[in-house]
Subunit: 240 residues, 2 copies
């Protein structure tokens, strides 16, 4: 763990130890620097990281404040690890429906920066929370980045495999969401009725160098899943 | 506009002028500092802001990269201005269904930090995009922060009124999303069928000092709306 991560961890512990709530003020940058006996730069880096994670917010000239969303059990869309991290207190399982090496079609070329016909690993899984189905996930990985996948790997965390097994540095993700009706096949896997509502999320995952490494389409059980995201005031300068 | 906002604007113009794509590299921090003849700190602030807005990403030791989500027409949940900004190329209208001063119930007390019975402005609107209904929005504002609202105000942008009319510094927002079926009354307003799918987003808007200023519940037309959000790799240190 890097020095600023350790400091971030200490600041987070301060928040939980003092049971600080949404909007409560934290010690100033100078006070934090003095308390932790590290450079101001290290504290600034720690605060930046915590701000990105939605744990604090900083108001120039006013201070550093706690940001604690009030609801639990929501899948955090801002956290790349998605439900593995948001739902970590629950028992998660996967059933692999399909695992194939397929040629990239037009949709995959567009989402994974591939040429037509490039080989792509396709994994289709039903995922279970506490034994109940909560989503159907189709994931696509370019074989040039993910040279090998097996059903055994797909049964546990693909993310851990990409990161720990293959050393891929997955860095950020774009999510595109909409609602629609479930198709009959999807409904069967989710133990719902055809035509029931679902939230569908298409996600593009990127490596640190901007290369797409995973394109996924997940349709969620509408009664088992809810999502969290945060927004900020942005300056109007990018409105064109 | 502040100096770093101007620099951010220039960097953004550089991206669009050079038609840079997702993953393309920007000039280094030193190069940007030299080009714009400003202090390194100003450029750092500009880059920070652009990173928050999802326009670039920075990889320590590697560089600054363009981040351009590939799809247009999605409501950006990370932008506090929501659809007013995401859908700005479209013609937006509102029909006010109700405007009342009501006593805070348990749900409003919880979401707006109020005591039971505190007065709250309740506004219920159908919103139209190019003449087609795309959402039903129920918004709640504590009267202590929003002393006056009228149907005329509610017909145009409430956000502009809060910011420009009342000088409220709305700073960030938490969104909570799920899918469900439309109720008959909602379906009528959205010109859909009862039981059709909808995405429902509950949002808490906060002032810079952490005080809640707006609680809203919006149910969206599933064929007219789609949403965008981004995630980042977070360090595992906050996982408990």
């Amino acid at each position: 763990m890097l020095k600023y991560e350790k400091i971030a961890q200490k600041i987070y512990r301060y928040i939980t130890d003092h049971q600080l709530q949404q909007g409560d003020k934290l010690p100033s940058l100078d006070e934090l620097t003095n308390n932790f006996l590290v450079s101001k730069n290290t504290v600034i880096k720690a605060l930046e990281m915590m701000e990105k994670q939605g744990l604090i917010y900083q108001v120039r000239g006013s201070g550093i404040f706690v940001r604690q969303p009030r609801r639990k059990g929501y899948i955090n869309l801002m956290d790349l690890q998605g439900f593995n991290s948001s739902l970590r207190e629950f028992d998660l399982n996967s059933q692999v429906l399909a695992l194939d090496l397929i040629p990239a079609n037009e949709e995959l070329c567009r989402n994974l920066d591939l040429a037509p016909g490039d080989p792509v690993y396709y994994v289709n899984r039903v995922r279970y929370i506490e034994g109940r189905p909560f989503c159907i996930e189709a994931s696509y990985f370019p074989q040039k980045l993910v040279p090998y996948l097996s059903e055994e790997i797909a049964t546990s965390s693909l993310f851990s495999y990409l990161r720990q097994g293959l050393g891929l540095d997955i860095h950020y993700v774009d999510h595109f969401m909409r609602a629609r009706r479930l198709h009959p096949e999807e409904a069967k896997h989710l133990q719902l009725k055809s035509g029931d509502p679902t939230i569908v999320i298409e996600s593009n995952y990127y490596l640190a160098d901007g290369m797409p490494v995973d394109f996924s389409k997940i349709c969620y059980h509408y009664n088992e899943t809810q999502f969290f995201s945060q927004g900020e005031m942005t300056s109007p300068i990018f409105l064109d």
